[in-house]
Symmetry: C2
Subunit: 118 residues, 2 copies
């Protein structure tokens, strides 16, 4: 058994007036892909699923763990989380950066955020 600390997990909800961004997964996918590339992370798979009401849900699986977003255009809302393990290096700043960039991209107003040191 071990005292190894896996890493930082940010869980947040934000509202936004940018309904088109909540209804269209493609710009968000572009954002996530750019962030993954620029932060030198490794994507090993992803699911983007569009709902009939126009929202979407996405999970991206990384060798460093995962990120997810679920959007509710009918509530101007998105729920977001990102978790990167620190197994090979300290990724805490990358976790914070991914969340900050996502919030900025959606022009979001943060409703709540939790930073969990796992």
């Amino acid at each position: 058994m071990t005292s190894y600390k896996p890493g930082l997990h940010i869980i947040a909800e934000f509202t936004t007036a940018e309904i088109n961004l909540l209804k269209n997964a493609e710009p968000c996918k572009q954002l996530f892909d750019n962030l993954i590339y620029s932060l030198d992370l490794s994507k090993v798979g992803e699911v983007y699923h569009n709902f009939e009401n126009g929202g979407f849900t996405a999970v991206v699986c990384l060798t460093e763990s995962h990120l997810s977003i679920h959007t509710w255009p009918e509530f101007n809302l998105a729920t977001f989380d990102v978790f990167l393990s620190n197994f090979k290096q300290d990724n805490n700043d990358k976790v914070k950066s991914i969340y900050a960039e996502t919030l900025a991209f959606f022009n979001g107003i943060e409703k709540s955020k939790q930073e969990i040191e796992r």
Copy 2:
């Protein structure tokens, strides 16, 4: 804007002596599929990725949100999270059930758990 509360998110780490279960994604996938079916949830995609050292990482995308597990056999460790939205019905008991069943399946010793009402 809204005061809609999305749902319950459980984040946990557990250790286990069942190294084979940490090294082999297939039994875990079977467990998750059974839970999703028996709890009447809807899977819309998934990623299971095996690491060279024998661990695996998985995210399962549900219409109700997602669940994930990342295993570190070298530390006898798994990190797990599950989030189900309450948009159509209260899924909080299902979140608790999925976590409890997963912990039991791995014969896990809980290191930490957070229940976040999002």
